[in-house]
Symmetry: none
DNA sequence: CATGAATGAGTGTTCATTCAT
DNA sequence: TATGAATGAACACTCATTCAT
């Protein structure tokens, strides 16, 4: 083994350790809830003593914040991808719905944490999460608004209510979805995308059929 | 004052006290979350010392379970009322959606607790909550199924996914609704009912227009 | 026993408990030093478990602060008494020195804590202690200044240095004085008072003898 | 470069490193107190990680003991110098006072540690410190005794009390002296020496003037 | 020599719960 | 019924120390 290989191994191991801790925390926080979960639990999941965990984190809340940042970053990347399509508004909404649903399903524990534990962040960290959530809502509201302007939405649709409705439906995914369940994530994502479109467009969303 | 009156007064007071404690717990658990909230917090909200609270409850979890039972009972009453209508399936779904939404909005703190804190019940109490939730889901799924059978649903609709979707949307209400906000509960309930119908029926949900 | 007696007993007991805690803390902090002493130690000295101590205090630092406040209040009373005499400046200095020394000796553990642990107070509490110390120094400096103005001090005496010198000598008392030692506190106080006068006045402090 | 030079360089570097560590510890212990200061703090002051510190020390207490030994050794050298003068007792006392004061001021952090942290040594190390302190006190007491025997002390002077008094005044120096303050160390040392003499001799200390 | 991961005992503090008054 | 002192187990976090690399 070369010196470089050893060094790379060290770096990789360290990074993996940090990542291990984060992923262990995701599992534990998801299972027990952030407040009920103890640092001990996370340490046990990693396979070290609780004191050792503090090589990787500064505090329990740090660990939670770290999960949020990591998730938010990856989520935003996905959103950017999903928004830039060149299609009819209603199809862009469907596409957005499918991408979001799929991302939710693939990161279901993080999403669950994101949806329920943000209250336990304090100070600026909480503000940041709220800001990101609002950005997300506004992007969705924007899409729905475009559908409405294109005359493809139910005529009496309230954009805000629709946004909250769909947002809620998505956030409900972690409450029932099991990775080992019978339905492949893609199928669920397609169904949810269709339902999102339905929610917004009502009859207008149906292809012109007899 | 007669002896009977005193006794009745005592009973009524006790009942009120019990109810006071429950309502205080609802407020406190909603604000801080069940785990973070302390018995002290609840006692302070009631206006007694924490030791005194144990005249009305047996344990903290008892208090949570009590909230669930109380809420579930009242919720089921509402559901029974909402289900017995003699109308077209799609209108029964709309009616159900409106009633549920309205009940959610009027009991928003309890609903929030119901949606997020059920994990912290143990043993049979948890089972009961899951059972009730499933009953509720099945009732909703039943309604959606009837809509589908009546040919008024989107043709490729998956009843289960639709149920989860709508369930999630409703459970999302506590995340944004504020009692002192600009929109009256009835308006929100109507909008949510319409969106529920849209979700299920897509084009079919629109009244037959040209 | 009358109701009043019972009530008074309760109050007295509570007060005693609080006072017990404070005095236990004085002993423990004096023996081990504030940082090394644990809440456990104090609790053991009181005869309760460490958790129980938090009925009487809010934090360990609170306990330290409490000692400071209690000591400072009593010390200031003594200083006020000692300052108001109507005598020659040098005799007022002697009187002050005797009173201070005596108070130090009678409160030797508190004085030791006062002299060494003030650094471990934070924020305003530290400021307060520094302020009180400065007030004390200024009072002593004032007395010395008056002796000097009366022409009864050594001619080249620096008032500040003398103040620090004497202050240091007094603060050194806890380093050697033992309550059960051979010398009665009064004798020590007289000797220290004489030495304080000597420090300031040199030859001038001697009574005019042939 | 010769092998010897390399070796010498290594030794010198090691010695310097050791000295660096000791001096860093003096600064850190003085600032935070021995108990509150962490090995990490000392390591950071040296510029290495805490694990690396254990190449130079065996334990935290070792580090403290080392400071005491180093300081005591240098202090004793100074004392020996200061004691051998051939002068009148009172002038020897003054000379001793000036030398001590000056040494205190020049090693103010070590003196502060010496005065306050000796309790945290254990076993023989504590005994040694106490022994050294006693030796120092006896030397001072001896000088004062000689002054008294020479008839140059206040007639009712108690040698022990005077020793404690002066010892305390000297130990108080670190409580107010700042290196960057307005008064040069020599001026302070002269003043303190004069005050020491005053303390002991009272009127007798004044040169026979009219 | 230097690193930093790992340990494990310990610290201050919280809190649900009990119980004598 | 109400109090509040007391408990004891638990928690987040710290730190001196060790050791493989």
């Amino acid at each position: 083994m070369t010196v470089a290989a050893v060094r790379e191994g060290g770096v990789r191991q360290r990074r993996n350790r940090r990542q291990d801790v984060l992923e262990a925390a995701v599992r534990v926080f998801h299972e027990k809830g952030y407040v009920s979960a103890t640092i001990q639990d996370v340490a046990a999941e990693v396979g070290v003593l609780k004191g050792s965990l503090y090589h990787y984190i500064d505090s329990k809340e740090d660990l939670l914040a770290w999960i949020f940042e990591d998730s938010a970053g990856r989520f935003m990347e996905m959103l950017d991808e999903a928004s830039g399509l060149d299609e009819r508004p209603v199809e862009r909404l469907r596409s957005f719905g499918r991408s979001c649903s799929l991302w939710y399903l693939r990161n279901i524990e993080r999403v669950a944490i994101y949806a329920t534990e943000w209250k336990h962040l304090t100070g600026n960290r909480r503000k940041n999460v709220v800001t990101i959530r609002e950005a997300y809502e506004q992007r969705l509201a924007g899409l729905i608004g475009e559908v409405k302007e294109a005359g493809e939405a139910a005529p009496d649709l309230d954009v805000n209510f629709a946004t909250y409705f769909i947002f809620g439906a998505l956030n409900g995914l972690p409450n029932w979805y099991r990775r080992r369940g019978p339905d492949p994530a893609e199928r669920i994502a397609d169904a949810y995308a269709a339902q999102i479109v339905n929610t917004v467009s009502g009859a207008a969303g149906r292809p012109r059929s007899g």
